[in-house]
């Protein structure tokens, strides 16, 4: 694997620095109710309307765990090719904050539900494995709103107690681009599994980013800083770039990097220290005495294993084998479960090669332009395969197909109907074409003579004229053949 080209290094004075990144991704578990209470988890509800007595930590209230969240975590663990721990323990992480009603977060510290696993990244220069350290279940906190009132902070506990999976990677990432690919892959796996919707705008997926730098070639890790709660891939990349450069500057300046928690300021595009939190950093973890150790049986795990759908890595392999896609094409098709479904629906009834090109080319471009997801595509998989079949059987040319496609984007219309209504059917009758061609040659006698005397470049001119006269409908292949004969 030639890494040279894509290596991400920071150069300062004679030195080259490598950036070492580890991510703690917080993924909201897709579930109806919260991890330890029966209140709803819907996004966007009125403040404090999805808060139970347990979530607001009323005296005497006790946590009772949601089975579905446990299953979701285990499924995600299977998707990360990870070890599932049959016994795990819930601990309390103690700290005070306005949106943490219990004064502690129930999390898993020493014994998480999922152990080591890996995520395979498809980089332009080959595959790369990123190690997963662990996955554990924990409660989300509420939300503090600082900008509604000059003197006060408002607290909304709707999120309080929502189940999160914290997925901790090993420090295996080396560039902002790898982080981009890693997050997308993780998101894709969870969406395939239906364990997290991966919606970053709604906060369903956030990450704490650990960044350190070291001189290229050294083994030892540098001192790391943790950038808290970054909620978009773009911000993660910006934060890493800023932070890595800040650390390199410090080192080049003869100073040392302090291990600390930092915040990414999206307005100023910089990270800054959260020193106020430093003294409260002793979380005093201990096993939650309100809960017992969580034990799951082999049967329980096997049952979940049997419910796991085909995941991106396996699907990719199958697409390459079955449909002869290139790895590049396969990657795109499996990147999102909806895309892969769309693709498979299209190729059920039409040519794979054409379908691949049309999806990756025209369709993605058009969706992109309209800012639509594949699930919102105006063109259904069925109609796209019809369009492809019209090209394949010569009913319309590729060029005409683009016109039809554009009309289909305006509303999911049957391409056959569009072709009929607008009379876009390709002219493939040799006799009709001959008549056309005779007419064109007649009208351009002088050029025909020039062609015959050796100016072969003029062939293109004749093709163009025939197409023009036919209104673009003439079958280009036939036109070529007949022209050659006639000239």
């Amino acid at each position: 694997m030639s890494k040279e080209k894509s290596e991400y290094l920071i150069n300062r004075n004679e030195n080259q620095y490598e950036v070492v990144i580890g991510l703690e991704v917080h993924a909201q578990v897709l579930s109806q109710s919260k991890l330890f209470s029966t209140s709803a988890t819907k996004f966007g509800a009125e403040p404090n309307t999805q808060v139970s007595l347990v979530d607001a930590a009323f005296p005497g209230m006790l946590p009772v765990i949601n089975e579905f969240c446990v299953k979701q975590a285990i499924k995600t663990g299977i998707g990360l090719k990870a070890k599932i721990n049959k016994r795990s323990v819930f601990d309390r992480k103690n700290y005070f904050y306005a949106d943490l009603p219990q004064g502690y977060q129930i999390s898993q510290f020493k014994d998480p539900i999922v152990g080591e696993g890996k995520v395979i990244l498809d980089m332009p220069d080959g595959q790369k494995d990123v190690g997963i350290e662990r996955l554990h279940l924990e409660q989300d906190a509420g939300k503090s709103i600082h900008d509604l009132d000059p003197k006060n902070t408002f607290v909304d506990l709707n999120r309080s107690g929502v189940a999160l999976m914290e997925i901790v990677s090993k420090p295996d990432l080396r560039s902002p681009e790898e982080v981009n690919v890693y997050i997308k892959k993780l998101r894709s796996i969870m969406r395939y599994l239906g364990t997290c919707d991966g919606n970053m705008q709604e906060g369903s997926l956030r990450a704490d980013v650990n960044v350190s730098v070291r001189k290229k070639g050294t083994e030892e890790f540098g001192t790391r800083c943790e950038i808290k709660n970054v909620n978009s891939i773009k911000f993660m990349q910006m934060a890493i770039e800023y932070e890595a450069n800040r650390q390199v500057d410090l080192i080049e300046d003869g100073q040392s990097v302090d291990q600390e928690t930092r915040l990414f300021d999206t307005k100023k595009n910089e990270t800054r220290s959260m020193r106020s939190k430093e003294d409260a950093h002793d979380y005093r973890y201990f096993p939650d005495p309100d809960l017992l150790p969580l034990e799951v049986s082999d049967e329980f795990i096997n049952q979940l294993q049997s419910e796991i759908p085909e995941l991106p890595d396996e699907k990719k392999k199958r697409f390459i084998d079955q449909f002869k896609l290139t790895p590049y094409e396969a990657n795109i098709m499996v990147s999102d479960i909806e895309t892969s479904k769309y693709f498979e629906d299209v190729v059920k009834k039409s040519d794979v090669k054409l379908a691949t090109n049309w999806i990756i080319g025209e369709l993605f471009a058009a969706l992109n332009e309209k800012n639509l997801e594949i699930t919102d595509s105006p063109i259904s998989a069925g109609n796209l395969s019809k369009l492809i079949n019209l090209i394949k059987d010569g009913t319309i040319s590729g060029k005409i197909a683009k016109t039809v496609f554009e009309q289909m984007m305006e509303g999911d219309k049957d391409p056959k109907k569009i072709v009929e209504e607008k009379g876009l059917k390709q002219e493939s009758d040799p006799k009709a074409l001959e008549a056309l061609i005779d007419k064109v040659i007649d009208n351009n006698r002088d050029k025909a003579t020039e062609y015959k005397s050796g100016k072969v470049k003029l062939f293109g001119f004749f093709v163009g004229q025939v197409m023009k006269v036919s209104g673009g409908k003439a079958n280009p292949q036939l036109v070529n053949e007949i022209l050659k004969k006639k000239l």
Binding site: N94, F96, P101, P289
Partner: protein, 485 residues
């Protein structure tokens, strides 16, 4: 009937069932006596007028097949009661009115009982004399200026003074059994997981357990039958077959093997206590039990273990009292300032002390040396009992190392206060059931109790032993109503 408040629970239940007494008559009698007994300071919140109204309602539509038909009852103020203020004896919850009911109290109301008020207790159940309550000391009806024990001091005082026919307390390290012993009453701490903790203000989650406090063993068994239930709202509640404790109660304990642990003969234990224990052994023999010497070698380590485990859990359990969602809030310039002032003004000295101990033993660098160590010793203590129960059916010990002491006598010396629980704490650490029954008086005429410890889920057995011994002991409480003018 003039002596309504002198009747046992079982007598009252029968009289109501046979329509010799109405719920209103009974309720009024206990309300009246409570009104005359303010000097004992047993109540934090009285609910007398509602109680009388509810008694009338009960009489209008009596459900006589219930286990506690129209019986008035005051409960420890650690149980959340819907729409009735619940303080846990703390300033920080001074104005807190729950909208929900604890499972244990709900079970009681479901059997027809009527709430008459919330009883005083040590703040967050942290104390052995009821002196840490924000709502003031409770007088022991046995003698003026005598503590009623703690933390369920209001409960023990109210039962002994007959302000309520029966009550419930909570026991984390002895908080039911020690006050029962100090007031000449019966108190049962059930097996951990027998009574739901849902809706009980938490002190130390792995130790807390609610239990009945009564005038006699029969009443105690009946209330235990009512409050013990498997509850899906408490993850540590245990689904086991519960007996009909009062119906199955028997004095036939012939051949039961009762262990006498030599380690409970502690240094400096008053001779009176030792004598009481010996007398208890004789009573047990009289009942036909077989006495066997046993060893619980780690007994001495129970109290230090408890003073790591309980404060650690408490420091975390009490973090929710931060002035944000409910309860007392002090003004602060910013969030942290508000927290620090609220908790400093809202919690009393003992609670603060225990939060500090708990925070310290969990803090970075000390966890292994204290908290982990304590959990390991806790295992050893439990193993001791497991070993002993291979040989015996129950264990007999004194309930406390002394009789009740004077108010103020131990407030300046936390360790000597903690030593009160030396015989009760191991039972909580091992999660076992234990019952204290009154067994005699000391030279001052103050009551002394004996403790019978059982195997897990074996409440019926220790109730039976207590029932049999109770008859032989024939204890009479010496209460003069000195506080009624």
């Amino acid at each position: 009937m003039s002596d309504i408040t002198k009747q046992t629970l079982s007598e009252l239940v029968n009289n109501i069932k046979e329509k010799k007494l109405s719920s209103l008559e009974v309720t009024k009698a206990f309300v009246d006596r409570s009104e005359k007994s303010k000097e004992l300071n047993t109540y934090i919140t009285e609910d007398f007028s509602n109680a009388l109204e509810n008694a009338k309602k009960f009489d209008d539509n009596p459900k006589l097949d219930l286990k506690l038909p129209g019986i008035p009852m005051a409960v420890k103020d650690l149980f959340c009661t819907a729409n009735v203020r619940t303080t846990a004896g703390s300033k920080i919850l001074n104005n807190f009115v729950p909208t929900y009911e604890s499972t244990v109290t709900q079970n009681i109301w479901n059997e027809g009982a009527i709430l008459i008020g919330k009883l005083n207790c040590d703040e967050f159940a942290m104390g052995s004399s009821n002196e840490t309550s924000f709502f003031g000391n409770v007088q022991n009806p046995i003698d003026k200026n005598l503590v009623p024990g703690g933390s369920s001091g209001g409960s023990s005082s109210a039962v002994a003074a007959q302000l309520t026919p029966i009550t419930i307390g909570t026991d984390t390290g002895g908080s039911i059994r020690q006050p029962a012993s100090f007031t000449g009453t019966v108190g049962l701490k059930p097996t951990y997981g027998s009574c739901s903790r849902y809706g009980i203000v938490a002190f130390a989650s792995s130790l807390d357990q609610a239990g009945p406090m009564a005038q006699n063993v029969q009443d105690c068994a009946l209330l235990q039958e009512v409050i013990s239930s498997y509850d899906q709202k408490d993850s540590t509640s245990i689904d086991f077959k519960r007996n009909q404790y009062s119906k199955e109660l028997t004095k036939d304990i012939k051949g039961k093997k009762i262990g006498i642990p030599k380690e409970y003969r502690v240094d400096g234990m008053p001779k009176e206590i030792d004598d009481l224990w010996q007398k208890g052994i004789e009573y047990a023999k009289d009942c036909g039990a077989e006495i066997i010497d046993i060893s619980l070698p780690h007994t001495n380590y129970a109290l230090p273990t408890y003073y790591i485990v309980a404060p650690a859990e408490a420091s975390s359990n009490l973090a929710r009292y931060d002035g944000v969602k409910y309860g007392f809030r002090a003004d602060g310039e910013n969030l942290i300032d508000m927290y620090e002032k609220t908790r400093s003004e809202g919690f009393g000295a003992e609670v603060q002390r225990r939060i500090m101990i708990g925070t310290y033993v969990l803090s970075s660098g000390y966890y292994d040396a204290y908290y982990l160590k304590a959990q390991k010793v806790r295992k050893l203590i439990k193993n001791d009992f497991d070993e002993a129960y291979k040989k015996v059916d129950a264990i007999l010990t004194p309930s406390t190392p002394s009789s009740a002491f004077k108010i103020g006598e131990k407030t300046n010396d936390p360790v000597s206060m903690y030593l009160n629980d030396i015989f009760t704490v191991p039972v909580n650490l091992a999660g076992l059931p234990g019952i204290s029954i009154p067994a005699g008086h000391d030279s001052k005429g103050y009551p002394l109790g004996l403790q019978i410890i059982g195997k897990a889920f074996d409440e019926q057995n220790i109730l039976n032993i207590a029932y049999a011994m109770e008859e032989k002991i024939d204890f009479k409480n010496k209460i003069t109503d000195w506080w009624i003018k």
